[in-house]
């Protein structure tokens, strides 16, 4: 399994001043699969995300992307190698319009961003592709709205458009439906389902119905360790998971 994984981690560990947030995690994300990370709050999901994307350096362990060691690379290099991420707390450029966000993402792999002597009008070469992506996430009519004026659900959609603009090998989505109303959740699930062919998606998700509808593989984390890993139905039926997490979620529903 390890040999075929597109993104894999071995013994990944991260300490914060004596507190072990991620503790020896092994993870194998198969190509063209949707891999969900679930677990109670504080299980280390977001820390794991930050490790996989270079925003945090692991205390120990190793990360490989398509067989290449990417442990300890800075986030911009991880992004360039084809790992795009969204943030749990919406992270945009408040004053930029939706279209400008996507153009900035599309421009990133080219060297255009260094051309301080050229006109920004050159970025219009990306406007058609940006419009396409905005249309895909349902933001076509809001292309020229500044990000700060967008409603919450639309900001999340913009996050997705930006990540897709990087045309990533691996798309890491940190709670893509967090804080959304039912309608937006449905729309987001549809959207992820639509863009997933040919892509590999890793998502942190609390909403088990979303996980059930999208994920091929589920990894349950608890206290920084992998508790269970397997297909959704198997994981859902696992005793340990029910006591640790799912039971509580089901009871609440």
């Amino acid at each position: 399994m390890a040999g075929q994984a597109l993104l894999s981690a071995r013994g990944l560990t991260r300490d914060f001043r004596g507190f072990r947030a991620v503790d020896g995690v092994d993870l194998d994300v198969a190509p063209e699969s949707v891999h969900a990370l679930v677990g109670p709050n504080g299980a280390g999901k977001t820390t794991l995300f930050n490790l996989l994307t270079g925003f945090l350096r692991p205390t120990a362990g190793r990360i490989e992307l398509a067989g290449r060691d990417v442990t300890g690379l800075p986030p911009e290099q991880v992004a360039r190698l084809g790992v795009a991420r969204s943030f749990q707390i919406t992270s945009l450029f408040p004053q930029l319009t939706a279209q400008e966000h996507v153009e900035l993402a599309l421009q990133s792999p080219s060297g255009l961003g260094w051309r301080f002597w050229r006109s920004a009008k050159l970025m219009s070469r990306y406007q058609d592709r940006a419009a396409e992506l905005l249309d895909m996430v349902g933001l076509a009519d809001l292309a020229h709205a500044p990000a700060e004026a967008l409603a919450y659900g639309r900001k999340r959609a913009l996050e997705l458009a930006i990540a897709l603009a990087l045309d990533p090998k691996v798309l890491l989505l940190d709670e893509p439906t967090a804080g959304m109303g039912l309608e937006d959740v449905d729309r987001t699930v549809e959207l992820i389902a639509r863009v997933r062919p040919g892509r590999t998606v890793v998502m942190v998700e609390h909403n088990m119905s979303v996980v059930g509808r999208l994920a091929d593989t589920v990894t349950v984390l608890q206290a920084g360790k992998v508790l269970v890993e397997g297909p959704y139905d198997e994981v859902r039926a696992d005793e340990r998971v029910i006591t640790a997490y799912l039971g509580a979620a089901d009871a609440a529903r």
């Binding site: 004053q95 961003g113 006109s119 920004a120």
Partner: protein, 338 residues
């Protein structure tokens, strides 16, 4: 659970496009009118003011725009830009005195030296942000100050470099009035360069980095390298101003490297309006004019007045003069359109 509702009429109104550079989104005729007024004012300036003061205003306009490039468009407050202004002043002075080259060449040499100095300083400084960045730049500027103070054989220490010539193909530029018009094209080129940088693909990345560096990194932009490039470009433009200042005064003193010079540049930008470029130019004109008027009236505590005005601006008009004017003008336009 209610679903989130969008308000496209509020968000998508094209007439109210907010964006990267607020001032650039003003209607086109207003932008051209402003440019015409600005050019006319620049051409008129030495007729309405003491020409030596007009020369100082031009130099400080470049310096302030250089600081604004970092403060307003990259989100970095340099508190040590005197290092680049002053280093260029010394190099320009030395080249002009010893090589006898035309002064624009000496100024270019000075600006290039300033840019070169900005590479190591910037490399170490851009790893920090906020107040730590300001402190690192201040510390390096103080080091440059002490080197200039100690290296007497070259800088003449406290005596300063005397007799920097205003050579330009035998033209007589001893009169400040004519010298003003000789340096005006260089200054306008420098200002145009700053405008171009801000309105380039690079400038857009800078604004992205300013507003959300983590997001910019997740998009694959090497944030440190972008900041360093902005820092070096800013050092070059500050150097242009400093070199012209040296030739303008025919004299370079240690003052050009003093930390109060760095502080004054920041005050000028904040007063004029951060992130507007125009504001930096306007702030330079006002502060230089005010200081000249105060010293001419025999007022001793100039710093008290400029400092007091600075405090007032920070407390009452956080957008600075230009920024506040833009907000008022927008409101007026919006009312007229209704």
């Amino acid at each position: 659970m209610t679903s989130t509702v969008d308000t496209p009429e509020k968000a998508g109104r094209p007439a109210h496009r907010s964006g990267l550079v607020a001032a650039a989104r003003a209607p086109r005729w207003i932008r051209y009118a402003l440019l015409a007024v600005g050019l006319a004012a620049a051409l008129w300036l030495p007729n309405g003011l003491y020409p030596a003061v007009a020369v100082d205003i031009l130099c400080w306009a470049l310096f302030a725009v250089a600081v604004d490039l970092l403060l307003g468009f990259t989100g970095l407050m340099s508190f040590g830009h005197a290092a680049f202004w002053g280093a260029s002043a010394y190099v320009t002075g030395l080249v002009a005195i010893h090589a006898g080259l035309p002064f624009p060449v000496a100024v270019l040499a000075g600006a290039l030296a300033a840019a070169l100095l900005a590479v190591p300083i910037g490399y170490l400084a851009v790893k920090r942000t906020g107040i730590y960045f300001a402190m690192v730049t201040l510390a390096f500027a103080q080091m440059v100050y002490y080197v200039a103070n100690e290296w007497r054989s070259v800088t003449q220490g406290e005596n300063g470099l005397q007799g920097v010539p205003r050579a330009l193909f035998g033209l007589d530029l001893t009169d400040d009035y004519y010298f003003y018009y000789a340096i005006l094209p260089i200054v306008l080129l420098g200002l145009a360069a700053a405008w171009r940088i801000v309105h380039s693909p690079f400038g857009r990345v800078l604004v992205g980095i300013r507003d959300n560096p983590a997001r910019a990194r997740a998009l694959g932009y090497p944030v440190h390298r972008y900041k360093l490039t902005a820092f070096v470009l800013s050092g070059f433009i500050a150097g242009l101003g400093g070199g012209l200042f040296a030739v303008g005064h025919r004299f370079v003193s240690l003052d050009v490297l003093h930390w109060t010079t760095s502080g004054k540049a920041v005050i000028v930008v904040v007063l004029g309006g951060i992130g507007t470029l125009w504001g930096a130019v306007l702030g330079a004109a006002l502060v230089v004019r005010l200081e000249d008027w105060l010293s001419f009236s025999g007022f001793e505590a100039i710093g008290l007045v400029t400092g007091g005005i600075f405090v007032l601006v920070v407390l009452l008009f956080r957008r600075g003069i230009w920024g506040s004017a833009v907000v008022l003008a927008r409101r007026w336009l919006a009312r007229r359109h209704r």
